[in-house]
């Protein structure tokens, strides 16, 4: 171990003093200090946008349930994983293009979401929030275990033969691009649904004021059920696009879950456009952090930004925008 940290006291302090600035936020010590060329910078930019879009999409379902029901759905990532494997299995068995099967994954997850709501959330919707946390955590354990027992934990990849476009020296991977396009369509569709339909208005009304909604005759338990179903369906959509560009494992949901928490808070509770702004912020920090900072230091930056936003603007960067 001795090459990993100095063992004697004097050295320890000296290396601590030296190491902190160079290791935290310092430029890659091994790379000469110079800005990469424009093509490379443009490449980072493209990846940041693509990644941000996917993070935004992943956060949609979470922010919806959070915003309307005030429930933190810990099973969100696990729901994504269910959709990933459902899509992959359906596509492999039927030979149908996964793109055509995405609606199927969404429908399946909607039903699963409604089921989970009725069995576990509805009975304790008025209980303290920590109870809902444990319940959704229980759902997470169940779903992840089932997927793992059925499919094993080897990473699996959907062979789509997708390549990448090259535009002016910048590569755009097809898988991520399609995922982003789907994300934008999903955002628009959900937004229209919430703005233009009766159910959507009822959901927004409930999000604004649960007690008030009850008084004006909105069937709040029904709205909750629909909200949870739609939230799960959005998790399904997010899960269904992941295999387009990434190999999948049963534990992949956990990583997306943490990011989604951050995105939801950055963007503002229940705000859909906010989810995308939050997603882009995280996408940019991750890509440029990986490009210019050492190791996984960018993660520290993400949580610092997260805490800062929580403290200074707890309503989020675009808080309340969806209400308008």
């Amino acid at each position: 171990m001795d090459w990993c940290f100095a063992s004697s006291r004097g050295e320890w302090i000296a290396s601590a003093v030296m190491a902190v600035p160079s290791q935290l936020g310092g430029l890659d010590a091994t790379v000469p200090l110079s800005l990469p060329g424009p093509a490379i910078l443009a490449q980072y930019l493209v990846f940041a946008v693509l990644l941000g879009g996917i993070y935004g999409l992943v956060a949609l379902g979470l922010t919806m349930i959070f915003g309307v029901m005030d429930v933190i759905n810990f099973a969100h990532g696990a729901l994504m994983v269910v959709a990933m494997y459902a899509l992959m299995t359906a596509s492999r068995m039927s030979g149908v293009s996964p793109f055509l099967l995405i609606p199927l994954a969404i429908a399946l997850l909607f039903i699963l979401g409604v089921g989970i709501y009725r069995a576990t959330i509805a009975p304790i919707i008025d209980a303290p929030q920590e109870n809902q946390l444990i319940v959704t955590f229980g759902v997470l354990l169940i779903l992840t275990s089932i997927v793992q027992i059925l499919f094993g934990s080897d990473p699996q990849k959907l062979e789509l033969g997708l390549g990448s476009f090259r535009v002016a020296g910048v590569f755009v991977p097809e898988g991520q691009l399609y995922a982003l396009i789907i994300a934008v369509i999903a955002l628009a569709a959900t937004w229209l649904f919430l703005q233009r339909t009766m159910v959507g208005r009822a959901i927004r009304g409930t999000a604004d004021n649960r007690d008030g909604a009850q008084y004006v005759g909105i069937d709040v338990p029904r709205v909750d059920m629909l909200t949870f179903g739609i939230g799960a369906a959005l998790a399904g959509l997010a899960g269904a696009v992941v295999p387009l560009f990434q190999s999948i494992t049963p534990s992949l949901g956990d990583q997306y879950l943490i990011n989604a928490f951050v995105v939801v808070v950055l963007g503002g509770l229940g705000s859909f456009p906010g989810a995308f702004v939050g997603g882009l912020v995280i996408g940019f920090i991750q890509v440029f952090g990986l490009a210019f900072l050492e190791g996984s230091t960018y993660q520290i930056l993400i949580f610092l930004v997260f805490i800062l936003v929580l403290l200074v603007r707890p309503e989020g960067l675009l808080g309340g925008a969806s209400d308008g």
């Binding site: 171990m1 090459w3 990993c4 890659d28 091994t30 790379v31 990469p36 060329g37 490379i40 490449q43 980072y44 990846f47 693509l50 990644l51 275990s145 793992q148 027992i149 059925l150 499919f151 094993g152 934990s153 080897d154 990473p155 990849k157 390549g163 990448s164 090259r166 590569f171 991977p173 991520q176 560009f245 990434q246 190999s247 494992t249 049963p250 534990s251 992949l252 956990d254 990583q255 997306y256 991750q286 890509v287 990986l290 490009a291 050492e294 190791g295 996984s296 993660q299």
Partner: protein, 434 residues
């Protein structure tokens, strides 16, 4: 200490008799094609056919004509893909020894494997080790994840049962401790880094090509950082300058990292990661139309795994890797590989090879001890020299602290999407092609 030993009525049995396993039985029927996960317990699917029935029965207890090896691996959780195969490697080694007539020095005593699932959790390392000991294990092997192995060494030490580590790379497991019952045939992370930094530049330069710069791609956990730290020291010592270091986390894509490599343009990219991240690396290389002149893996199981290589495709072709490997000069090694693939219908990778070799060390020790007594076996392990094993390594013999004195990580190259050992010369099966 009396309370350490619960009475003969073991815990698992207690639960069994309370009737819960009936449910498990039903569920077993449901898993269907996922049957390769059934490694727990008594040998699972591999038992059918020609193998003798004694290795399949867990209920019969007779200490006289049987020696029990406890296999402590992650059979569920995120490490299960490798853990299950490692467990199968133990079972296969035992099965093949039994087919050859069992332990000669014990009058043909049969070996039996009992398996425990540590889920890759530190809390369960010692717990599962204890269960296996309570169920009668005379010697243990495990545990893959290093904190888990470390927890298991504690229990092994307290109970006086030898533990031969199957795979666990962390340097400190043996180096910073004084354990009397722990042995590690495999090279540590440091050893692997040193071998890689020496063998790779040598072979490239011998072929008349140059390697002056390298980029490191590593998974940002203990395993990746340990190798990275060694390479940071050892590559410059072999005149290779590190021009980029790129970390990847679980579940991430490798797009930005590959862009960084494109920008830094090293002669070699050396990847230290698990299978998923390695696949992401090559996928991102494909997407950005980039392939470094030399692609290599250090302690990267994906580079030794035929199914992973097929997933990664052409970009992996010609890539190098340093890892434990099968000895290609031994015909037995080839037989083991074939048998494993037939028996369990799953890929044979470096971790499987190393686990098999570790089990061979255990078997050799039992044979030499001529006893099932853990202390006798432990005494032999302290002085044993195992010549006949399937790993591409000189004879295995342990130093004072339980490390293999002759541990070696050979260099192999992916040729026709199979891993072929190319260095050191003693074990090379083919010439490198550059």
């Amino acid at each position: 200490m009396q309370d350490q030993q619960t009475d003969r009525f073991s815990r698992r049995d207690f639960v069994k008799y309370s009737g819960v396993t009936g449910v498990a039985g039903v569920l077993a029927g449901c898993t269907g094609s996922g049957g390769d996960d059934s490694g727990a317990g008594d040998g699972g699917s591999g038992e059918s056919g020609d193998s003798d029935e004694s290795s399949g029965s867990t209920e019969t207890e007779s200490a006289v004509d049987e020696v029990v090896i406890g296999s402590n691996h992650p059979l569920s959780g995120s490490l299960a893909n490798t853990g299950v195969r490692m467990d199968q490697a133990v079972q296969l080694a035992v099965m093949m020894k039994n087919e050859q007539g069992g332990i000669e020095s014990l009058g043909g005593a049969q070996l039996r494997t009992i398996s425990g699932d540590n889920q890759g959790e530190q809390e369960l390392g010692g717990e599962v080790a204890q269960e296996l000991i309570d169920e009668g294990a005379n010697v243990l092997t495990g545990c893959y994840s290093s904190p888990v192995t470390s927890a298991a060494t504690r229990t092994a030490e307290q109970e006086g049962i030898p533990l031969v580590i199957s795979v666990s790379v962390a340097n400190s497991i043996l180096q910073d401790t004084n354990l009397n019952y722990a042995y590690r045939p495999q090279p540590s992370a440091r050893r692997m880094g040193i071998d890689h930094a020496r063998l790779l530049p040598n072979i490239v330069r011998d072929a008349g090509q140059e390697i002056q710069t390298a980029g490191l791609f590593y998974i940002d956990i203990s395993f990746g950082q340990s190798i990275r730290d060694t390479l940071r020291e050892e590559l410059p010592a072999n005149d290779v300058e590190i021009v980029a270091e790129e970390a990847i986390g679980f579940g991430d894509t490798a797009d930005t990292q590959v862009t960084n490599f494109r920008d830094a343009d090293p002669d070699a990219v050396i990847a230290t990661s698990y299978r998923a991240e390695t696949i992401e690396l090559l996928n991102a290389m494909d997407n950005q139309d980039y392939r470094p002149p030399i692609l290599a893996g250090c302690s990267n199981a994906a580079m030794n795994d035929v199914s992973a290589l097929e997933q990664m495709g052409e970009t992996a072709e010609g890539g190098f890797g340093t890892n434990f490997a099968l000895d290609p000069t031994s015909s037995r090694a080839g037989d083991v590989r074939t048998r494993f693939e037939e028996e369990f219908d799953s890929g044979f990778d470096a971790n499987v090879a190393m686990t098999y070799a570790s089990t061979e060390v255990i078997i050799a020790a039992i044979e030499e001890a001529g006893s099932a007594d853990p202390d006798d076996i432990n005494d032999v392990l302290g002085s044993i020299t195992v010549e006949d094993h399937i790993a591409a390594m000189p004879p295995i013999t342990f130093t004072e602290n339980g490390e293999n004195e002759n541990s070696l990580a050979p260099l192999h190259q992916v040729q026709d999407l199979r891993d072929r050992v190319v260095a050191p010369e003693k074990f090379a099966e083919t010439d490198p092609s550059l």
